[in-house]
């Protein structure tokens, strides 16, 4: 745990350093660049709120990937699950006329179910026919993309735009006046609070329950788990379903929180960013929370850096990509650290052995 924190921090530092080199190489001042990047995300309450708002869907998508990872599955279909979850929640939100306190939980449940539906199919295929979940979940992305495309156009199309769903009514969004006011008009919303709750729940399930232990055991060694009497196939389906449900909740946070309608023809980039968030967070729920906020900071501060300096947006994108690159290769950093430790230990060992040899020589003489 402590070790993985160090590795993640190393990844961030290396990433920032490489970004600085990139800025210097293109003739920009890295110090002012980074200072505007962080100012852009943190300068005033509105910007802090925007950072958190940008981070909220990333917390969900990162958590969805991390949960699947911990149970030995690679859920690469988070983008589609976000989209379908958001669509289900939007349909509920547009069609039910209920007070906000009742409507929002129903929307969240609808979103979770939608996401779960989209991930349980790869789960079943994996359990039944051993179809690799990477292939089937990435294909489900496109099934979801076109299903939502059709669904939005046929059932909840916005009268004023061909490519968007109807605007959700005030009661059906996660926006809360007290939060907006607290952060001076930011688009921060209840999605963040839901995300934090889900992080705690997932951490509890993974670390403190028998159910979570079984899921992890299947991830570590499928055959051994089966031998130990765990229903392996059921575990696979469950972990995919839970992973998808988390992603579906993220869809609600994205389409009924940060935005208040769905745009068709776009697969949410948050789905794939979730993989990077999860890697940087060492697949640990708390780590995911922190790394999602870090990514939120990068994404929301980037525009301000571009505006205040001559660093073009593409360079800023590259810097973020480099940081992702380093976090994705955190295993390399881990190996490096291990290698360094081992080398030092070897050196010590050699030194002490040398000493012994010398002393034995002395004895012989």
């Amino acid at each position: 745990m402590k070790n993985s924190l160090i590795i993640s921090l190393c990844a961030v530092v290396f990433g920032l350093l490489a970004g600085a080199v990139l800025m210097l190489a293109t003739g920009h001042n890295a110090v002012t660049g980074y200072s505007y990047l962080f100012q852009g995300g943190l300068k005033n309450p509105e910007r802090i709120g925007n950072t958190f708002a940008t981070a909220s869907p990333l917390i969900f998508s990162g958590l969805a990937v991390a949960f699947a990872f911990r149970t030995g599955l690679f859920n690469i279909g988070v983008a589609g699950q976000l989209l379908v979850g958001g669509f289900c929640a939007s349909v509920v939100g547009l069609n039910l006329d209920l007070p906000k306190v009742v409507l929002l939980p129903i929307m969240l449940i609808a979103g979770a179910l939608g996401g779960a539906l989209w991930s349980v199919i790869p789960g079943l295929l994996k359990a039944r026919f051993n179809v690799h979940e990477v292939v089937s979940s990435i294909m489900m992305n496109w099934v979801g993309f076109w299903t939502v495309y059709y669904g939005v156009q046929s059932y909840i199309k916005n009268p004023s735009s061909e490519t968007e769903s109807k605007q959700l009514p005030e009661a059906a969004t996660l926006k809360a006046h007290w939060m907006t006011d607290l952060f001076h008009g930011s688009y921060i919303n209840l999605g963040l609070l839901v995300a934090v709750v889900v992080v705690i729940v997932v951490a509890f399930i993974i670390n403190k329950t028998t159910f979570g232990y079984e899921l992890k055991a299947v991830g570590h060694n499928r055959d051994a788990s089966e031998y130990a009497g765990i229903a392996v196939n059921r575990s696979i389906v469950f972990s995919m379903a839970i992973s998808g449900a988390i992603a579906g909740l993220g869809g609600v946070a994205l389409y009924a929180g940060n935005a208040s309608n769905i745009q068709i023809g776009i697969l949410p980039s948050q789905g794939f960013d979730g993989i990077a968030v999860s890697l940087l967070g060492a697949n640990n729920p708390l780590g995911v929370l922190l790394s999602a906020i870090f990514f939120g900071l990068l994404y929301s501060g980037r525009g301000f850096m571009n505006a205040m300096t001559d660093i073009p947006p593409e360079i800023a994108d590259s810097i973020i990509a480099i940081i992702i690159y380093f976090s994705a290769t955190s295993i390399m950093i881990e190996r490096l650290i291990r290698w360094l430790i081992r080398r030092r230990a070897n050196a010590k060992l050699n030194a002490s052995q040398d000493g012994k040899v010398k002393s034995s020589h002395v004895e012989h003489d």
Binding site: F14, L17, A18, V21, L22, A25, T26, G40, N50, A53, T54, W146, Y149, N158, P159, S160, S161, E162, T163, E164, K166, Q167, Y187, N258, A259, S260, N261, Q263, G265, I266, P268, S269, Q270, Y299, S300, R302, G303, F304, N306, A307, M308, P312, P313, E314, I315, D317, S318, I322, L336, W339, L340, R343, R344
Partner: protein, 394 residues
């Protein structure tokens, strides 16, 4: 220990420099077409003869030469050969001519919140003349024009409105610009029919949205006009009018184009962004092996994109809407204190806001002279092109 740290540092450096090289190359390739951009053909400013000239209601009465021009890109990159690039080239030309500072920002996503955030960034950094290309900005501009009352906004291809409500609300600090895509499609269809004389043509659209639909309807009317009045025999079949559904799926564009060409289509009008790029790719592959296939480009002059190894292009001509010119004119008008705030401008054949490229190496001189003749009739209002579907295909 130290040695490995040095090694890592070197690796990091090499990696980053390599990345930087790639980047700067990219940048230069983006900026080089700018220098020779079609925006250079600026002799007659269309807005001067457009409704923009009637300035009575404009609130910005005094000349303003000290402002910074910002742009927020739509989904897609700055070198998208379409909206973003066209707008940016126009802005760059204007800011170079007038000695202003310019900047574009790329939003992290495509939601209203993302767009507003970038506009806020531009505003905070002092870029208070903000240009946004694309209908996706409609609701964001609606919010921004009230939030930043001392900034000016130019919305290309859309009008600000509330969500769920089509009523346009153009505040005094905003200009909304539209193009007559149907007229552009009409002349492209006309030129296609005249050049082809006889045969099958097709249409590939991106999303089924009004600007793309108008291109399609105009194109079909252009074909029909040539068939009825100029003795051509060009047909378009129902199965050869396809909206792919996105502006980004290059592979699908290539596939659809391949199917059409296999069905005997000679010319495809591709008004489809990235999907059109796929169609151009397919036409190029077939063109290299000596097949007689063509693409009609869209929005900007796409001639260079269809260049084959022998130096000839498979782009027959392009149905242009002069986004760059619109962007240029708005900046220029602002410097003259004539910013047409609160107005909705239409760029059409009358003010040369739409039409074919200046040079059409793939069109014969007869075709060009006939197209010019008809274009004049269009300008004078003798010919009317409908912006509705009527009994046209899709």
């Amino acid at each position: 220990m130290r040695k490995s740290a040095v090694l890592l540092a070197i690796l990091t450096l090499v990696f980053s420099v390599l990345a930087a090289c790639g980047k700067s190359n990219n940048n230069s390739s983006v900026s080089s077409p700018t220098a020779s951009s079609p925006a250079a053909t600026q002799s007659a400013s269309p807005a001067a003869s457009s409704p923009a000239a009637t300035q009575s209601a404009s609130p910005a009465a005094s000349a303003n030469t000290n402002f910074q021009v910002g742009m927020v890109t739509d989904s897609g990159t700055i070198d998208d050969k379409s909206f973003n690039q066209g707008t940016w080239e126009g802005l760059q030309k204007a800011t170079q001519d007038l000695g202003l500072k310019d900047k574009y920002l790329k939003p992290a996503g495509t939601t209203e919140a993302d767009y507003l955030q970038e506009m806020g960034n531009l505003y905070d950094a002092g870029y208070k003349f903000i240009v946004t290309p694309g209908f996706k900005f409609e609701t964001a501009i609606y919010a921004a024009q009230d939030k930043y009352t001392d900034a000016k906004f130019v919305l290309i291809d859309g009008s600000p409105h509330k969500a769920n409500d089509t009523t346009a609300v153009v505040k005094p600090n905003t200009v909304s610009i539209f193009f007559a895509e149907h007229e552009s499609g009409f002349v492209a269809g006309l030129a296609t029919a005249l050049q082809l004389k006889e045969g099958e043509v097709g249409f590939i659209g991106g999303m089924e949205i009004p600007p793309v639909q108008k291109y399609n309807w105009g194109f079909q009317q252009g074909l029909k006009y040539a068939n009825d009045n100029l003795g051509t025999k060009v047909t378009i079949k129902k199965e050869n009018v396809i909206y792919q559904g996105t502006f980004s799926d290059v592979a699908a564009g290539q596939q659809i184009a391949a199917q059409m060409y296999d069905r005997g289509v000679k010319v495809i009008f591709a008004a489809a962004g990235g999907v059109g790029v796929g169609a151009i790719k397919e036409a190029k592959t077939r063109g290299e092996s000596g097949k007689d296939v063509w693409i009609v480009g869209v929005d900007v002059d796409q001639y260079a994109d269809g260049m084959k190894k022998d130096g000839k292009s498979i782009i027959l001509t392009s149905a242009m809407k002069k986004i760059d010119q619109a962007a240029y004119d708005m900046v220029k008008l602002e410097t003259e204190g004539k910013f047409p705030g609160g107005q909705t401008l239409m760029f059409d054949s009358k003010n040369d806001g739409v039409g074919l490229p200046k040079d059409n190496p793939n069109l014969s001189p007869e075709t060009i002279s006939k197209v010019d003749e008809v274009f004049k009739k269009l300008q004078s209002g003798e010919i009317k092109v409908a912006a509705e579907q009527g009994n046209l295909i899709k």
